[in-house]
């Protein structure tokens, strides 16, 4: 039953984030702030070659250096293949990585590890390690990777956990095929068919806090690890399995995290801290340099995506055929799942088709491994689909807004894709209980004044403003797989401790959870004490990924609060000698007819005087569906026809994420996503030289959006209520990033007539296109 938002006092109301003031005052503790003072400092020797076999490695000189505590090579670490991807179990990513290996597969891959008394000694020791490499022919163009004579994973002992199309001898990390109906037949029947191929680049996460972890043994000789991670519980499981330790010997604690965006849904050094501390008994720490974050962590999967779309003269879209090739780099982390999202969280937007097909492969190359990155395939797919829809609209002589209005998903509708495609496995059928996409499209058009401005407005002889649009969807967690849980404990005086596994990485989940619990228990957020993400002390949560926190962890918190409320009323009723159904609770006072008792009094009594007990509850939640948030986005882009340079003057979005639990934080998620998406659309580009050396390895060579480029963002939310969400909420963490590549591509086309099929959309490409048009 829908709860009237007007009656909500905390949820859907302006609430400052719980930690914002402390963080601004410098009181937030991030991982490296919590390393033991006398930690051994770990440094990694990294491969100078894109692909090589280690013929010999001599660490004797390094070991002799004063201050060096430990040097490890592949000969000294467990030879157990695993996936660094912090995913559920069994992992949909291949187990194709060893802690250290005799092969190195990209420039930056780990060769050896040194732990020393300080950073300088550790760095000096790295220089003393002598390695003889047999240099192998690397694969640096992902379009040539399939069945290449260079096999990137020739080793034994690697495996898939269940069939994912893993075929390492052909350089294939995963592959996938699906179809509904007869695509070829429907395309043949169509009045108009467009066939377009797009390329998306690798993007760097560039979170401001670099990957960090540190370890120590506690008094019981248990390994305690602080880690800047999005998935502490998955980390504990994967580490236990890989190092052959019982789960009970490991504790992962996630302190404040300085941004993740998917990049921290993986191991990046934790294994080395664990091994160092286990082997030496001493605390240790590993903090990635900025260069290592760029060159030795993760990027977004670059892709080639071909879209074929058929439509009738009246604008009805009959069939969509999407073939894709994805570059997972040296390791197959998130290979299949990111790939599938290109289809599963993009193609259902146009659900009225008679046939749809999606498939292709994910190949290994000798590039920095690709991994999870906000949008997770949807941004790549969205760029290809939403650009092609504009091309189709033009062929049909239709307004791009109209073709979308006619063909896109509406409330109470569904798509067969939901049932077929899941997270590496089969999916889950679902009906869109909430879908305000038609409103989002209409409202966004008003905000940008589409009817008047589209396609372009001439500013001067050399300047034109183009207007472009796109629509997008995402999901809310992975059904039947992602689980979150929440415990609530009543303190004397009437405050509540709330412990959750949910992982706050800066998106504000601690605040959302406090709001949800406070709303249900009719109290204020100051009365809710949230502690999150400590594998010893908090209940389980899959972690912060797949847009799951608000929906999955939020639902767990809501359920726990409902149960706590019921429990309090029941016990108050006993105290009052009444039936629970006759007792009212306003957050402070229990009332039944003329009798009252306060929560304050009862909470003190229960701990010290009468009916002694601890009032506490724990509840879990997993999704049965994954209700998508929807968005319509529009941009006004001013292009200089002489230089190809352009500025995004206004980016308008209207989002349906159900109830916004915290309207300001929701806006922060949308706008933060848009800015990252604009970075990918306009200039961010991971670049290598011909030998596979990363060229974009600092903030000068890899430009992220700054205050100079970002002008106006206009962000609104649709009035929407998702019946399965906590207080009507869906997710909002990823949807913002999906639209910018297509929107900018469409706006540039509308301004200039130049269609850019490869990201990023640079002035050079526009200028080149303009020159070709003149010919």
């Amino acid at each position: 039953m829908a709860i009237d938002k007007k009656n909500m006092k905390v949820v859907n109301n302006k609430t400052h984030s719980l930690d914002g003031k402390a963080l601004m005052q410098g009181k937030g503790k991030y991982t490296d702030d919590l390393a033991e003072q006398n930690s051994l400092v770990i440094k990694i020797l990294r491969s100078p070659h894109a692909f090589a076999h280690i013929k010999s490695i001599d660490v004797s000189e390094a070991q002799k250096l004063n201050g060096v505590a430990l040097v490890l090579t592949y000969k000294d670490v467990p030879h157990v293949s695993f996936s660094r991807a912090g995913q559920g179990y069994p992992e949909p990513s291949p187990h194709d990585k060893f802690i250290l290996d005799e092969y190195v597969r990209y420039v930056g891959d780990e060769v050896a590890m040194v732990a020393a008394i300080d950073e300088r000694v550790a760095e000096d020791a790295l220089k003393l390690i002598k390695v003889e490499y047999e240099v192998l022919e690397p694969v640096l163009d992902f379009e040539t990777a399939y069945e290449n004579k260079s096999v990137i994973h020739p080793e034994d002992g690697i495996k898939e956990m269940f069939p994912i199309g893993f075929d390492p001898k052909k350089n294939v990390a995963a592959s996938y095929e699906m179809h509904v109906g007869d695509v070829e037949k429907e395309l043949a029947k169509s009045d108009v068919v467009v066939d377009e191929t797009f390329y998306t680049q690798a993007q760097a996460h560039a979170m401001l806090e670099t990957h960090s972890s540190n370890a120590r043994l506690d008094m019981h000789n248990r390994l305690v690890i602080y880690s800047s991670t999005q998935t502490p519980f998955h980390m504990r499981r994967i580490m236990a399995t890989t190092l052959g330790l019982p789960v009970s010997k490991i504790r992962f604690i996630k302190p404040r995290v300085g941004g993740g965006f998917g990049g921290k849904q993986a191991f990046h050094g934790e294994m080395f801290c664990a091994l160092t501390t286990l082997k030496t008994g001493l605390p240790s720490k590993l903090v990635y340099t900025r260069e290592e974050v760029f060159g030795a962590s993760y990027t977004r999967h670059p892709m080639r995506i071909q879209m074929r779309i058929g439509a009738m003269k009246d604008g009805r879209i009959n069939a969509i055929d999407c073939r894709s090739l994805s570059d997972t780099g040296a390791y197959g982390e998130h290979a299949l799942t990111v790939f599938m999202i290109v289809g599963s969280k993009v193609l259902p937007l146009y659900n009225k088709v008679d046939a749809v097909r999606f498939g292709g492969r994910v190949v290994y190359t000798n590039h920095v491994p690709a991994g999870a990155y906000r949008g997770y395939g949807a941004i790549q797919g969205n760029y290809a689909l939403e650009s092609t829809i504009d091309i189709l609209a033009e062929k049909l002589g239709m307004d791009p807004k109209e073709i979308r209005e006619k063909n896109s998903m509406k409330e109470k509708e569904t798509s067969p894709i939901f049932e077929i495609m899941g997270e590496g496995t089969k999916g889950t059928a679902m009906i869109m209980e909430s879908c305000k996409l038609p409103y989002c499209i209409k409202r966004g058009a008003e905000l940008i004044n589409w009817n008047k401005n589209w396609p372009r407005v001439k500013v001067s002889d050399t300047k034109v403003r183009g207007y472009g649009m796109a629509i997008a969807m995402q999901g809310s967690g992975i059904p039947f797989m992602d689980m979150g849980s929440c415990s609530i404990k009543l303190n004397d005086g009437g405050s509540y401790n709330v412990t959750v596994g949910a992982t706050d990485i800066g998106q504000g989940s601690d605040t959302l959870i406090a709001q949800i619990v406070a709303e249900e228990l009719q109290t204020s957020v100051d009365n809710i004490l949230v502690y999150s993400s400590d594998t010893d002390l908090t209940p389980f949560d899959c972690g912060a990924y797949a847009s799951s926190t608000t929906y999955i962890s939020g639902n767990a918190a809501w359920r726990a609060a409902i149960k706590m409320r019921e429990r309090l009323i029941k016990e108050a009723a006993e105290y009052l000698g009444e039936k629970p159904e006759n007792v009212e609770f306003d957050g402070k006072i229990f009332t039944s007819k003329d009798k009252t008792v306060s929560l304050y009094d009862l909470s003190v009594q229960w701990l010290y005087n009468k009916n002694l007990h601890q009032a506490s509850v724990t509840e879990s939640y997993f999704g049965h569906v994954s209700p998508p948030p929807f968005m319509a986005a529009y941009a006004e882009v001013e292009v200089d026809l002489e230089t190809g340079e352009y500025e995004v003057l206004n980016y308008v979005t209207v989002t349906d994420c159900g109830t916004t639990i915290n309207p300001m934080l929701a806006r922060g998620q949308v706008e933060g996503g848009i800015v990252q998406g604009l970075g990918m659309a306009c200039y961010e580009d991971v670049k290598y030289d011909k030998k596979g050396n990363l060229l974009s390895n600092n903030f000068l060579s890899y430009h992220i959006p700054t205050h100079k480029e970002i002008h106006k963002l206009t962000s609104e939310f649709a009035d929407s209520y998702e019946p399965t969400g906590p207080f009507g909420a869906k997710s909002v963490g990823e949807i913002g990033i999906d639209t910018p590549p297509a929107v900018i591509c469409n706006a540039i086309y509308n301004a200039t007539g130049v269609r850019v099929h490869t990201l990023p959309i640079t002035p050079e490409k526009i200028l080149k296109g303009l020159k070709e048009l003149k010919k």
Binding site: K14, H16, S17, D19, G20, K21, L23, M24, Q25, G26, K27, G28, K29, Y30, D33, H205, A206, M207, L208, E209, T210, R256, V257, G258, G259, F261, T289, R290, I505, G506, Q507, G508, P663, M664, L665, A666, R667, G668, V670, E671, G672, I674, V675, Q676, N698, F699, L700, I704, P705, T706, H707, K708, I710, H711, K712, L713, S715
Partner: protein, 149 residues
């Protein structure tokens, strides 16, 4: 070598290596509010005030600041709280890793330029990267703080 300087108006004397940078000195003395996002003067998260002017502490040699005044976030707690209020009002706060640097730079902006234009604000803060927020909301928050009496 021993270096004496004023840390938030208190004279301190630290034993440092000649090639040590200020961010490292302060962090190793327990002042963990100094955040290091790149250690190569490109992100602004380590911003401090030296003689009232924003500097990137990862590129200031500690040996070079003898007798100078260093302000860390601990020295402007009340102003930081005010800035935090405006960031929260605009939904501009997220992971917070960049925030300390922002607070110091925005505080310095307020002291050093009266009624700055948007252009001047952007010039002042452009070296402070933030990967989480929409940036536009930060600008609005900063303007609201600058208007405060």
């Amino acid at each position: 070598m021993l270096v004496k300087f004023y840390l938030n108006d208190t004279l301190v004397s630290y034993d440092v290596r000649p090639d040590e940078y200020l961010s490292e000195t302060l962090r190793s003395h327990g002042i963990k509010s100094v955040k290091v996002g790149c250690n190569e003067s490109t992100c602004g998260s380590c911003t401090l005030l030296l003689e009232g002017k924003p500097v990137m502490s990862c590129s200031v040699l500690t040996a070079s600041i003898e007798n100078k005044h260093v302000t860390t976030i601990e020295g402007i707690q009340e102003e930081a709280a005010k800035i935090a209020y405006h960031f929260a009002e605009e939904g501009a706060d997220q992971c917070g890793f960049c925030n300390v640097g922002y607070a110091l730079v925005v505080y310095a902006l307020k002291k050093n330029i009266k009624n700055p234009t948007d252009e001047q604000i952007n010039d002042y803060i452009v070296g402070n990267l933030c990967r989480c927020s929409g940036l536009h909301s930060q600008l609005k928050a900063i303007k609201a703080y600058l208007k405060e009496e």
